[in-house]
């Protein structure tokens, strides 16, 4: 029936035509299928939606219009359900249209039975579901988002405790590290202060002993006592030197040397120290490893480390001394010098306190407890760092990281020949020290050599003398003095007034904020306390003999070398 005819029939009140119109033009698709799922009848709404004509649809199976997923669902769910319960409603399918498009639909199906209960036909109502499907997708997306959010919240809650615990632990570790650093700093201040005062005492003791011995009648008993006193004072000075090293206030004279040469130079001493208790081995690279440190202190540090390694290896084993240019992630990371033993190792409790001065695990009298303290202070003062890895029964590795000189080394210099002390040629000296006993020793020593001496007990007093036109050839001054001017500042002022003035600076420890560069900058040479009268005499003499331009004479060259071996 065509459109025209159906309209006419309707106007005529034709009941059959009315139903026909209802069927063909309902706002949903109608399909009749045989029990096997083949289409037998289809309304106009369905054909207009899908673009398939009625003729092509009749005889085809409904599932032929479905995608693969739809076909599987139809056979495994739709058809069985329809057969079992007689209907199946609101099933979402995608229908393939004639032009290749796909329309989302909802399908309601009902079985019509014959008299025997067998399926006679299947009626399907097809509803267009584009809007609904879109809405469903949005709902699904919203549900997924909600599930995701709730899952994330659950995870956050689950991990909250662990993360708080971790943060607290991290904080505790940081606080512990800070506490440890503060403790070391405080001990350093304390030992530094004590050692400074002690140095002045030792200087007086040593100087007095020296002068005493010269004036003493030649009595072997008196000489033995005097020698013992001097020996004890020297050992006291050594202990003091280590305390100063720990407090990082010792005057360091950093030079550029090949670390291999330092290690090799001291290897004989180290061998004797180990004395067959353990096997000492060295591992050094082919190339030079230029390092910028105080050579004497490095030797002392190595000796201390090897002594400790030996004492930790009563059952023997290997002690390895290793040096190399360190690399971290392909970048140079300083010079590494390690001492590795296979000995008893340390407990965490010992490890925590191992750098503290006077902390020792050795038997009473067997160690001072200053060895590792000295190493620690020296390395830190040199701008380096120290790592220690140890566990009970697993040996100990201590690695020093020291500044890479970053240069190619010139060939080793010849050792300078010994200089003999000679009497004064009449050059005069101004001695400045706030400690009158120390000053007296210096004055006495220099007077014996025939130098005319002037004295001052403070930087200001000395400067006033110079400003007043006092003629002297050399200024010998302590660094740390009360008052407005310390020794370095005095040296600087004096140089300004008298550019040709020779300057010798002495100190047991450098005041905070000062290093030897300040001494060089002030044009001075340095003599460390406690000094032996002979050392004072030699320093004065060498200055007066013209080796005064100290920045070039005593400070090492940092310029790029042109040494042999450089291509």
């Amino acid at each position: 029936m065509n459109e025209q005819a159906s309209r006419e029939s309707l106007q005529n009140g034709d009941g059959a035509a009315d139903f026909q119109d209802l069927f063909e033009n309902a706002p949903c698709g109608y399909l009749s299928l045989d029990p096997e799922g083949r289409i037998t009848r289809v309304n106009r709404t369905f054909t207009s939606w899908t673009g398939h004509s009625g003729e092509t649809l009749v005889g085809r199976r409904f599932l032929d219009l479905l995608s693969v997923a739809g076909k599987i669902f139809y056979e495994t769910h739709f058809a069985p359900m329809l057969r079992m319960q007689g209907f199946f409603n609101e099933v979402a399918f995608d229908l393939r249209c004639a032009e290749g498009a796909v329309i989302p639909v909802l399908v309601n199906a009902v079985e019509r039975l014959d008299g025997t209960g067998r399926a006679r036909s299947i009626r399907m109502t097809i509803l267009a579901a584009s809007d609904r499907r879109k809405y469903e997708q949005e709902l699904l997306e919203a549900r997924r988002a909600a599930e995701r959010a709730s899952r994330e919240l659950r995870e956050v809650n689950l991990t909250l405790e662990a993360r708080v615990e971790e943060a607290v632990q991290k904080r505790l570790r940081a606080e512990e590290a800070l506490r440890q650093a503060q403790k070391m700093e405080a001990i350093g201040q304390l030992t530094g202060g004590v050692a400074h005062d002690f140095n002045n005492l030792l200087t007086v003791i040593l100087g007095s002993l020296e002068l005493l011995q010269r004036r003493m009648p030649p009595d072997p008993i008196l000489k033995r006592f005097a020698d013992a006193a001097e020996d004890a004072a020297r050992r006291g000075a050594q202990v003091n030197a280590q305390l100063l090293a720990f407090s990082r206030r010792q005057p360091l004279q950093a030079v550029t040397v090949d670390a291999r040469e330092v290690v090799q130079g001291i290897s004989g001493l180290l061998e004797r120290t180990v004395n067959g208790v353990a096997t000492l081995e060295f591992k050094l690279p082919q190339q030079a490893i230029p390092i910028h440190v105080d050579r004497n202190q490095l030797e002392m540090a190595l000796l201390n480390l090897v002594v400790n390694a030996r004492d930790a290896s009563p059952g023997g084993g290997r002690i390895l001394v290793e040096g190399c240019r360190g690399m971290v992630d392909g970048s140079p990371a300083g010079i590494w010098i390690s001492v590795i033993d296979e000995g008893e190792g340390m407990t965490p409790e010992v490890l925590e306190r191992v750098f503290e001065p006077f902390f020792t695990t050795k038997a009473m009298g067997a160690g001072t407890g200053l060895g590792l303290s000295m190493v620690y202070g020296f390395v830190r003062q040199s701008g380096g760092d120290i790592d220690i890895v140890s566990a009970r029964g697993a040996g100990t590795t201590i690695r020093l990281r020291l500044p890479d000189a970053g240069v190619v080394l010139p060939p080793t210099e010849e050792a300078s020949p010994l200089v003999e002390v000679r009497p004064s040629d009449g050059e005069s000296i101004l001695v400045v020290d706030d400690d009158s006993a120390v000053r007296a020793i210096a004055v006495s020593t220099l007077e014996q050599l025939g130098y005319p001496i002037h004295q001052a007990n403070s930087g200001e007093a000395a400067l006033r003398l110079l400003q007043a036109g006092l003629k002297v050839d050399l200024l010998f001054t302590d660094v740390a003095m009360p008052g407005r001017l310390n020794g370095i500042e005095l040296a600087r002022e004096a140089r300004r007034l008298r550019p040709d003035l020779r300057i010798l600076v002495t100190s047991g420890r450098l005041p905070e904020g000062l290093d030897l560069d300040a001494v060089w900058a002030a044009g001075g040479k340095f003599l460390s306390k406690p000094f032996h009268p002979l050392e004072l005499a030699l320093s004065v003499q060498s200055l007066l003999d013209g080796e005064n331009q100290l920045p070039s004479a005593a400070a090492p060259s940092h310029g790029p070398g042109t040494a042999a071996g450089t291509p």
């Binding site: 096997e36 599932l63 997923a69 769910h77 058809a79 069985p80 057969r83 469903e136």
Partner: protein, 267 residues
């Protein structure tokens, strides 16, 4: 919980020889409702729901166990052993045809006869083997189940979204058979359609009937032929019925083919 309760097993019938019915993907033991009555007088009938389907104990569904058909055949063996099945008949539809084959190969004493309805040892084509689906088509199915599931899941699940506080409403809207959890439905589809049990066919020792429908998109004719060729001494019957579920769409023809195959029972 006993395996009978877990798998919602029902035993009926007045015979002594056991006939165990195993349903396929997408449904539950209700799908045997038109076939079972024809055998009730002569056999001891066992019907049950595969784990995850129908009235099985969904809380016992373990994704790792049921990631392969062996998990389901373990259940079938446990069920039959619990019921002292020996020398029985296994009627397996669709994926349960292969579950039955796996169980029979593992425990040859359980079944003397296997009736495989619409079996497929592998759904995805593989070189010269025609399983009926390209790999991309199965991927599309699984993807579809993953992404757009509301219509299908809603039609199968006991609860739909938004009505969790009024389950009685959900009951009115949805269907009374073959309910399952959408997540389990997805997982079971993956296990089923990615399975490959072709090598197991050659090991079958029991008598075997392959019931093949015409025009079955799930298990096409070529697959039924393959199964028949692979199982030694098997019998192939091609039904006039179309579709994948002749037990529902053509129960009379199905029953007749089964009876023709099964040996006379010495009563």
């Amino acid at each position: 919980m006993s395996v009978l309760r877990r798998l919602n097993a029902h035993v009926s019938g007045s015979g002594s020889r056991a006939m165990v019915f195993a349903h396929g993907y997408g449904c539950d033991q209700n799908m045997w409702r038109f076939v079972v009555p024809a055998f009730r007088d002569e056999y001891r009938i066992v019907t049950f729901d595969l784990m995850g389907a129908g009235g099985s104990d969904l809380s016992a569904y373990q994704p790792e166990k049921y990631a392969s058909l062996n998990g389901f055949s373990d259940d079938l063996i446990a069920l039959c052993q619990e019921l002292d099945v020996e020398g029985g008949v296994l009627v397996g539809h669709s994926v349960s045809a292969m579950i039955g084959v796996l169980a029979a190969n593992r425990e040859p004493d359980l079944f003397d006869d296997l009736i495989l309805v619409g079996p497929s040892p592998r759904y995805i084509n593989d070189q010269s083997y025609l399983g009926g689906f390209a790999e991309t088509e199965i991927a599309e199915l699984l993807e579809f189940l993953d992404s757009n599931h509301m219509g299908w899941a809603g039609s199968m699940a006991p609860l739909i979204m938004g009505n969790t506080d009024r389950p009685e409403l959900a009951g009115e809207l949805t269907n009374s058979f073959c309910r399952t959890d959408p997540a389990i439905l997805k997982h079971f589809a993956r296990t089923t359609f990615l399975s490959d049990n072709r090598a197991d066919l050659r090991k079958v020792q029991a008598r075997c009937l392959v019931l093949q429908c015409s025009e079955d998109v799930i298990a096409p004719l070529a697959v039924g032929q393959y199964v028949h060729d692979a199982i030694p001494g098997s019998k192939l019957v091609i039904l006039r019925a179309t579709g994948h579920c002749p037990n529902l769409s053509a129960p009379d023809e199905t029953i007749a083919a089964m009876k023709a195959f099964l040996p006379e029972l010495a009563s």
